[in-house]
């Protein structure tokens, strides 16, 4: 029973990471019509920057530095390379962002080495919380709470700001937004940087929980794509629902039948794609544009 509860909590933490990455993917797709295979790289960069800064200046500094560094990187990437590919076909965009992910992964390997790193939590955060029958690391609960707050902020951004309006309109009809004179070019760089910053921040915050190696970006990217597809590309709540679903599914399978923990999410995605290709909460017209 306690193990089950533990697995459910673990699934929540994992799922929230997926949600955060998937939300970034979704708003980027909505505004730029770009399926960003390099999004996992943002997570990894954030994790490494957070780790390095945190080791010298403390965790809070790491959590501030990581999203800023990733946002700058993403902004530059968008301006220098990606913008040329906005109007190209989706396969070219996939290949390009896949290539960027490769380059980032290998750069990280060169700079930080291939070994696995983990940020050691300061004593103050090492405590445990007692939740009914089980004891759970306090930092993980703090992390989950923090990601939820972050997601609420992102939701407010999408629903309440002018940029968010462009994002929402872009998901519906990108061409119309351009015709209306929406400054999609600037908005897209900002949204791209923002999506990156979210992934970077979560990457830094998760570095005491999940260890980091150069392959981490890809390891988190693929499940996050699964999340986006299951939930529905372009749907905020779809990303939330999909992320929690996939996180829990993975965590529970790891408990009940460990060897299948990796494959079960693909099974889930294949079923969703075959039965409801637009995803659980997605809109059907989006699928042809991806």
């Amino acid at each position: 029973m306690a193990a089950l509860f533990q697995a459910l909590l673990g699934g929540l933490v994992l799922g929230l990471i997926y949600v955060a990455i998937a939300v970034g993917l979704t708003i980027i797709f909505g505004t730029l019509r770009l399926v960003n295979f390099a999004h996992g790289a943002f997570y990894a960069i954030g994790a490494y920057v957070g780790l390095v800064v945190a080791e010298r200046l403390g965790l809070v500094a790491g959590l501030i530095a990581a999203p800023i560094a990733v946002a700058l990187f993403a902004f530059g990437l968008d301006r220098i390379v990606l913008q040329r590919f906005y109007e190209k076909d989706p396969t070219a965009q996939l290949l390009l962002t896949f290539g960027i992910a490769l380059v980032v992964e290998e750069s990280l390997r060169l700079i930080f080495g291939a070994t696995t790193l983990q940020y050691p939590l300061p004593e103050a955060l090492k405590g445990s919380a007692f939740l009914g029958p089980i004891e759970y690391p306090a930092y993980r609960l703090l992390f989950a709470g923090g990601v939820i707050v972050l997601l609420i902020l992102v939701w407010l951004f999408i629903e309440r700001t002018n940029y968010g309006l462009i994002v929402r309109a872009g998901i519906r009809d990108r061409v119309m937004v351009q015709l209306l004179g929406g400054n999609i070019r600037r908005a897209s760089s900002v949204v791209f940087a923002l999506g990156g910053a979210i992934a970077g921040l979560v990457g830094a915050a998760a570095s005491p929980i999940y260890s980091v190696d150069p392959g981490t970006g890809f390891a988190f990217l693929v499940p996050s794509f699964v999340v986006v597809v299951v939930g529905g590309l372009g749907s905020f709540w779809g990303a939330v629902l999909g992320g929690l679903l996939i996180g829990e599914l993975q965590s529970l399978t790891a408990l009940l039948f460990p060897p299948a923990a990796n494959v079960v999410i693909y099974l889930c995605m294949a079923l969703v794609l075959l039965l409801r290709p637009q995803g659980l909460l997605g809109e059907s017209e989006v699928i042809r544009q991806a």
């Binding site: 989706p90 490769l102 290998e106 750069s107 060169l110 597809v229 060897p259 794609l273 290709p277």
Partner: protein, 636 residues
């Protein structure tokens, strides 16, 4: 050159084609023979050369999907690893005493073809990231099966002792691990570095290249290109796009399986890595770096990257980063791959001249092209008839309760204010979208649920509101594709035969071009045409499918007055041979050419009648106020 000389040269391609094939095979064989020798001075070795050749086959198979079908598969390792494991298991379990390479490899190819057929039938309808992720998902499942099926695969340990399979050639059993005789070649190493395996792999690769070369030029390759370029048009000239993609995916799976099987046998072992995500990614890198949509691109890319991996890795830890940078640079600067740097433009002056001569030669009307006997005016039964036809989008009825009957040979105009549901109605007739209510009968047969592709073959063709053409192909090729669909049907697995060998296709295309007065621009790239010519080409494409009903959605929209009048005359002439339904806002044209007019308003039929009746119908005038003025309606 006289016409007679031109027709004499028509016979030639047959023979010169064979000569070209032989020359191609010879040059490729020569290149493959020199490859391991040239690899030696730059740090390669015989084994690496063999591996490159074997893995190239997988990249070639992958390119069929990424390059020619235009779909990014992120799961091809399932066929590579799967093929390797099948071959290994066949040898270990069933042929331990008499290991036969042919049986193992063919078995692996066959199983992978079946696997690709099954997975493809679930995936080829999806696009972009969805296709990539779904293929990845299936690859992960295959990986899981391999990892967990420990009784057969040894799980994570892999199969380490695959029996050395022999190549049965008549009475001989050839052992491929035999080295070549020891001859010192100075800087190019020693010939004994190379084993018979290299020659065998080279022959297999050569066969695969010849196959792919034929496939690219075949009718199948032509249609696959067309579907990649413009899927919607391809579906509405009558090609079953999913079937073509599925066939390509199956062939691709079999080739990748062949490669995986050969690699396992060559290595004498196989591990679960062969089916991993990283493996799938490597085919993407190899193929893109070398050049998608090229014959040798995948081979060149595989060679270059595998060389870097094996040679550069010893020199610098940054070798993977260098690979990644090369990959990104290729995508940004040479989107079609490095090998295109060395490729000359394909213009064959002789072929161009032949075409010019042919274009100038009058063509006798083909008996095949006689108008269908049903297409006579005022027949006893309708050619197309709808009853209570409706299309709802959520709570919005774009079309509802449409009852309409068109007689064979009629020229019917469908008019109505913007948003009246005209295009929706045409889409329902053509099968672009399924109806939510009601029925469509075509020549007495219910077709409401028949696919758009199948309706083209029944004789319903459509020209689109915005000219829907293959912009990168010539006008002639545009029409030939439509004619090809008519002559060969929705799907034909003709991976060897060229469509140029079908005379009917040229005749049909030629006739369609003549009817729309496009002969002057027959060899112009369609994307370079004027707006009016593009619109007429769209109609010509529809015409080349030999329709009995032609649906024209605003054929003269955006044309100048002169062009519109010219097109109007062409349409009037077409209507003497087939039934024509036309949506048009140009009232002058509508009143001038139609036999009868149907007015749609708010998704349903407001009135049907002769132009005279419609002009004097008070309800029509009312509906049009605000849309078109009364004056417009009353002046033909």
């Amino acid at each position: 050159m006289s016409v007679a000389a031109a027709s004499a040269s028509e016979v030639q391609p047959q023979r010169s084609l064979f000569a070209a094939d032989a020359r191609f095979a010879l040059l490729t064989a020569l290149g493959l023979a020199l490859f391991p020798l040239l690899l030696h001075p730059i740090g390669g070795y015989g084994g690496l050369a063999t591996q490159i050749l074997i893995v190239s086959i997988a990249s070639i198979g992958f390119n069929l999907i990424l390059g020619y079908a235009g779909m990014l598969s992120y799961g091809h390792a399932m066929f590579y690893g799967g093929g390797g494991y099948i071959a290994a298991i066949l040898l270990v379990r069933f042929m331990a005493t008499h290991p036969n390479l042919w049986l193992a490899v063919l078995g692996a190819m066959l199983v992978m073809a079946v696997l690709a057929l099954l997975i493809g039938s679930l995936t080829v309808r999806l696009y972009g990231i969805y296709f990539a992720l779904l293929t990845l998902a299936f690859a992960q499942m295959v990986y899981f099966v391999i990892e967990q099926g420990k009784d057969w695969t040894n799980g994570d340990d892999g199969i380490q002792t695959i029996p050395n399979a022999l190549v049965a050639l008549g009475p001989w059993n050839v052992d491929l691990t035999t080295p070549l005789p020891a001859i010192d070649l100075g800087p190019f190493g020693n010939l004994s570095d190379i084993k018979l395996w290299y020659i065998f792999a080279g022959l297999v690769l050569l066969a695969v290249l010849l196959f792919m070369r034929a496939l690219n030029r075949s009718q199948f390759g032509e249609v696959l290109d067309a579907i990649r370029e413009n899927e919607q048009r391809s579906v509405f000239v009558g090609f079953n796009a999913s079937a073509y993609r599925l066939a390509a995916f199956t062939i691709s799976g079999a080739l990748t399986g062949l490669s995986g099987a050969l690699r396992a046998l060559y290595d004498g072992s196989i591990g679960v890595d062969a089916a991993s995500i990283d493996r799938s990614g490597s085919f993407v890198v190899y193929t893109v770096v070398g050049g998608v949509q090229t014959l040798f691109g995948p081979v060149a890319g595989t060679g270059a990257i595998m060389f870097l991996e094996n040679v550069l890795s010893a020199k610098t830890p940054a070798w993977r980063l260098i690979e990644g940078l090369i990959f990104v640079a290729v995508i940004v600067f040479f989107p079609r791959g490095l090998s295109t740097l060395f490729k000359r433009r394909e213009t064959n002056p002789r072929a161009l001249f032949r075409r010019m001569v042919r274009a100038a030669t009058p063509v006798e009307p083909d008996p095949l092209l006689k108008p269908a006997p049903e297409a006579h005016r005022g027949g006893p039964s309708s050619i197309i008839e709808t009853a209570k036809l409706g299309k709802w989008f959520g709570h919005f009825a774009a079309a509802r309760d449409i009852d309409m009957r068109v007689d064979p040979g009629e020229l019917r105009a469908v008019i109505g204010p913007n948003g009246a549901g005209k295009t929706t109605f045409f889409n329902l007739l053509a099968g672009t979208i399924p109806p939510t209510a009601g029925t469509i009968h075509y020549k007495g047969r219910e077709v409401s649920r028949v696919s758009g592709t199948a309706r083209v073959h029944l004789g319903i063709a459509k020209a689109f509101q915005t000219a829907n053409i293959y912009t990168d192909q010539t006008v002639r090729q545009n029409c030939r594709l439509a004619a090809l669909a008519r002559v060969q049907g929705a799907f034909a697995l003709q991976v060897f035969r060229r469509s140029t060998r079908l005379d009917d296709v040229d005749a049909l295309a030629e006739r369609a071009m003549r009817r729309l007065e496009l002969m002057d621009v027959a060899d112009v790239r369609a994307g370079d045409l004027s707006h009016g010519d593009k619109k007429r080409l769209d109609i010509a494409i529809a015409l080349a499918t030999q329709p009995q009903i032609l649906l024209l959605d605003e054929p003269v929209a955006g044309m100048s007055k002169d062009e519109a009048r010219k097109t109007e005359g062409l349409i009037r002439r077409l209507a003497t041979e087939m039934t024509v339904l036309v949506i048009e806002h140009d009232m002058e044209m509508v009143m001038g050419i139609s036999d009868s007019i149907t007015v749609l308003h708010q998704g349903t039929v407001l009135a049907t009648g002769t132009p005279e009746q419609i002009r004097n119908n008070p309800r029509v005038q009312e509906a049009y106020l605000g849309g078109h003025s009364e004056a417009e309606l009353s002046h033909p």
